[in-house]
Every structure is written in C-alpha cells, then in structure tokens.
C-alpha cells in the first residue's frame, strides 16, 4: 500500500531572471516500510523536492502543478495550518542537511526534543522530557545526556540527536536530506547503522536524499535518479543499479570507486549540469549524453513504465 504518492509535481522558484524549474514533472511513490533513495548531483532539485513534499517552501518557491497525496489526502491543497497540525512531525518529519548545526546552542538537547513534542501533542512537560530520554536512547545515546548542550556533544552524537528529534511524534515517513554528508566515514557508518535499525524496528518509511549512491545501495530498497529537475530512472534498487538503462544512471554508477572487489575503470560525464533557468530543449541530458540522437534534441522523453515491477525510465532509447 502506498503511503506517499507524488504525481506530476512541478516546483519552480521565481527569480528576477525568470523561473528556475527546480522540480519539473516528477512522479513517484513510497509504500509502507519502503526506503527510497534519491540520488543526483548538487542543484538537480533533490532538496527542493523534499521541501515541496513537506511544503516548507521558501518565499519564492511555488508548487505550480501536480499532487502530493499522503494517505489519501492531497498536501498541495491543504492549508498551512492543517499541515502543521496534521502532517509535519506527526506523519512526515525531516532531517535537514547539516541539521546537527541547527540545534540551538543555548538549550539542552532534551529541552529541544521535548519542545517539538509539546508543540504537536497535548502532554505535560515532564512527560515530554521523559519521552525525549527514551528517544535519545533509541538512537544510542545515554538517557542522562539529554541535559547536555549541543557543544558538549560530538558531530555524530548531534546528528543522532537530530534523528531522535525527527522521530519525536512517531512519524510514518522520514525524509533525510544528506544526513551524513558532514561526517567522517566511521561516524557516518555508525549513524547509518542506527538509522537502518530504527527503520526496521519502528517500521518507518523513508526517503533518503544524497549525492552518494553508495550510501543508497547500503540502506535503501528503491532508487530514483534525478537529473536537472527530473527523475530519469526509478525502480527497485538492485535492478536499477546493476542494469541501469538511462545513460546518466549508467555513467553515475561508474563514477563511484569501490573499496572491495576488482579495480574498475572509473568514468566521468563530460560537460556540466545545465542551468535550470534555461534547461536544454528536448531531453535535458542530451548535451552530455553519449547516445544522443536527433530526437533527443527536440522532444522531451516520456517517463515510461517498463514492467509490472514499477521500473520507469525517461529516455528515447526505450520508446
């Protein structure tokens, strides 16, 4: 059963030079207990997509088209008040990039977690504090550390505390935007392990946004590859990763060196990601694509469903 369904979502930023088409006609689903990894380079619209789903848009960002259905209700049409009351934290919660630096320096960690609980639920202060103790234990931090201030904790601990905070109101879907980017590999492995265990234990669904495909292959079971505001390939992780169809996915999977197995030739993609103010006509990847044909320059490829297992690709090679 699907939990979140995004259909033909378009999210643009209005700037003085025109619209930046950050998210352009994107469709995907997340079922219960499913982990979707969204991969893509910086500036491809991954974060904007997450912001659109939680409707935490900046002043110049706008959802211009499409639906975001969560448990049958359309978030796009909901009022801000309803979203704050019903959706955010309780249903969908989010861990932002560099969230560990978003903790308030002059409040204890426990205070900040219970604050989130108090705003959203009708509980007493003591109850909230007790729950925050349980939450930090869940992510592997001693309960007594809730009285500590952020500067007394290490980077990895802060990141785990933020994860605990995101779980404060028992959400069904957790959106994590580059949750481990600022951390060292060993600490990253520790945080990812905690998050993976939590997902299994609490039966969470999650959406993990990262530029690092290898993190997705270690933690997710579905993969969406984004390029220049569009999802170019989407499906179950193993087939998409092992037999990529879209030329961009093919190149991207080869750009990551592996520490085990035989040494493979690493490849790069010529050129640069396009400017989303004026994306190239036709397929947005055509200026960098090795298989570009005449049609790619003119007609935008459709987001095609290839099989019953929910494999999609947007490329003229498969039409």
């Amino acid at each position: 059963m699907e939990l979140l369904k995004v259909k033909n979502l378009k999210m643009y930023y209005q700037t003085l030079r025109g619209y930046v088409k950050a998210v352009d006609d994107v469709s995907f689903e997340i079922s219960k207990e499913e982990a979707l990894g969204v991969a893509g380079e910086s500036g491809c619209g991954k974060t904007s997509m997450a912001l659109a789903i939680t409707k935490l848009l900046p002043y110049n960002g706008k959802i211009v088209h499409g639906n975001i259905t969560f448990e049958g209700e359309d978030i796009v049409k909901m009022s801000d008040k309803d979203i704050r009351k019903k959706i955010r934290w309780k249903k969908i919660s989010m861990i932002f990039q560099g969230a560990m630096n978003a903790l308030h320096p002059t409040y204890s960690v426990g205070h900040q977690i219970s604050e989130a609980i108090l705003t959203h639920e009708d509980v007493t202060k003591d109850e909230a504090l007790e729950r925050s103790e349980k939450l930090v234990e869940l992510v592997g931090i001693d309960a007594e550390k809730v009285t500590r201030y952020p500067h007394e904790l290490s980077g990895g601990m802060k990141q785990r505390a933020v994860t605990a905070m995101a779980l404060a109101c028992n959400p069904d879907l957790l959106i994590a935007d580059e949750p481990t980017t600022a951390l060292d590999v060993i600490v990253q492995a520790q945080v990812l392990k905690v998050m993976k265990e939590l997902r299994e234990r609490l039966k969470l669904s999650w959406m993990l946004i990262t530029h690092d495909l290898s993190i997705i292959t270690e933690t997710c079971n579905k993969l969406a590859v984004m390029y220049a505001g569009k999802i170019v390939e989407y499906g179950d992780l193993a087939p998409v990763y092992s037999e990529p169809l879209h030329p961009y996915t093919k190149k991207l999977t080869k750009a990551f060196p592996s520490v085990i197995g035989p040494k493979t030739e690493m490849s790069s993609i010529p050129g640069f990601p396009p400017d989303l103010l004026k994306p190239p006509p036709g397929c947005r990847f055509h200026p960098r694509c090795p298989n570009a044909m005449e049609i790619c320059r003119k007609k935008e490829p459709e987001f095609l469903k290839l099989d019953d297992k929910g494999r999609y690709v947007a490329c003229h090679l498969y039409t």
Binding site: E41, S42, S154, G155, G156, D184, V185, I186, V187, Q188, A189, Q190, L192, K193, H211, D212, L213, S214, I215, T217, E218, L237, A238, Y241, S242, K251, L252, T253, A255, F256, P257, S258, V259, I260, G261, K263, M266, S267, S268, I269, P270, F272, P273
Partner: protein, 332 residues
Amino acid sequence: MVENITLEARNLVKHFPLQLGFFKTLISKEIPYVHAVDDVSFKIFPREIFGLVGESGCGKTTTGRLLLRLIEPTAGDVFFKGTNVTAIDLEREMRKLRRRMQVIFQDPYESLNPRMSIFDIIAEPLRIQKVVETEEEVRDKVAEALEELDLTPPEEFMYRFPHELSGGQRQRIAIARAFVLQPEFLVADEPVSMLDVSIRTGVLKLLLSLIHKFHSSFLYITHDIALARHICDRLAVMYLGKIVEKGLTEQVVHNPLHPYTEALISAVPVPDPTARRISVVIKGEVPSAVNPPPGCRFHTRCPYVEEICRKVEPELVEIEKGRSVACHRYKA
C-alpha cells in the same frame, strides 16, 4: 641511496599551541598543545603516487603543509632530493625550491584570487620564478597550460575571472597553475572532494595524466580510501597525528593489519547492492589531539585492546618488505 628518493619526511612533529582565554593563561602553568603531527616518517620515490589517508583532524593536511614548508615543523626534517628543506634559508633558497614543489588545495573557491584574471593566476608563478623572459612566452605557456586541462580555446578562458567559472573549471585552473612550472613533486590536498561526482573523475584523470607527463612524484591527501585505492601506488593511514599503517595500496586495502585501517575500510559504503557486508563498526569518536590517549592512541576504540596497549606506545615496524604497521599484535 639519497638519489632514489624524491622526498623524505623524517620524524616530523608539529604541535600547535592552544589559544587560551586571558584568565586561563594566568592560571595555567603549561600551555596545552594540539598534537597535530607526531613523529611521522615516510619516503616518496620518483614517479610514485603516495596516498595519505585518514579522517578529519588526523593531521594529514598539516603533514602536507610541513613537507612544503608552508608551516615550520616543531621537530624533524624534510629532505627533497637530498636537500634538507627545513634547514635552508626561507627567503632565497626555499623560493628556488618552490619551483620544483607545488600544491593544489581542496577548495577552488578559496584558493584562487577573485581579483586576478585566469591569465594572471596562471602567469604568476612564471613571473615570480622568472622562468620566462618575454610577455609573449608567458602567453604561450599559459595557453599551453589551459589547453592541457581541456580549457579550450584558451583565449576564451584567459581573460575571465574565477567567479565566471564552475567549480570543476576552477579546480582545473588551480591544477594548471601548479603544473605551469612542471614541478617534480606535487601535493594535492583533497583536490576533488568539493566537486560533484560526475565531474570528479574527469578532473582526477586530467591531474593524473599531467603527473605522468611530467614524471612528477605525487602526494595525494584524502579521507576517501576508496578513491585513494584507485589512484595510489602506496598508502599510509594516519590516526591522531601518527601513521598507523603503510604499504602497497592493494595490500593495505585487501589485507589491512591495523585494527583502525580495518575499521576505516569496513565503514566505507560499497556501491553494490548485492554485496551487503557485515561491517566492523568501531564505537566512539576520535579522541582530542590535545591530550592523546597514552600508549597506543587507538586503544580507546580498539576491539582487540590488551593491557600493553594502554601503557606502551607501539612503534611503526616493518613486518615485511615495504609493509609497516604500528600495533602490538604484530612483531617485526
């Protein structure tokens, strides 16, 4: 044989004094030091790519800066082709040496002067080192350097300013600036970690092709052991200011001896959904470099810790030819 070594670091030590508040300086008897680099030795041979790998704060960047004498060591020596870099006159002789030793920094947004044109940025080392006589020669050299990094046509890039270029292009400018003097030794400190994955490999390949072309020796400093594995001949793994393991890349990666190297490698996510491994995740985080743990510096997190590790510091010993490890579990 001195001639066969491009660069040698011998027992390098760098301690940075800790900045204390005004009152603390009055009370405290001793100034605490950050033990950034502690007794580090290694050799880099001609045309070799040597990787220095470790987590942030392990002292790898400081080591790189010490080798080029961008900072003065607390103790120890650096020999470049037989010359003691740390002992020579900084003004005259070091300036001459800099022509032969160059550096590429991590952040191309910080390392290029925003007020200089690309032409001036690349021409600056040529002018300082006085390797060219006329302005025409400078032009030719700059154009050549740009072409080598696929920034073509060079005329189109020469008169632009750094803010007009993308991150990948900027880093290529930084590489062009380092190679315009055809250095014999090059230090690159995380040269691609700021770049997007799709262009990372391309920049790295250009860098490697230039290293081969000029037969330079290369010190590659990185936190990414997977990437280091693909480009380095030999690797040294650092932890809290010390080298814990050193050897041929494939040996270190496939058969890590030191428990830290083992943990570091198993923590790297593998881009292969079929290969889900049981990883040895060690607990805790890197201790402070102000008061490094006594004995082996890794003992606070080591899964194989014994009594001796808490007291005696293990030395870096060669256990087989070209393979060294600093751990009490291995004897020479």
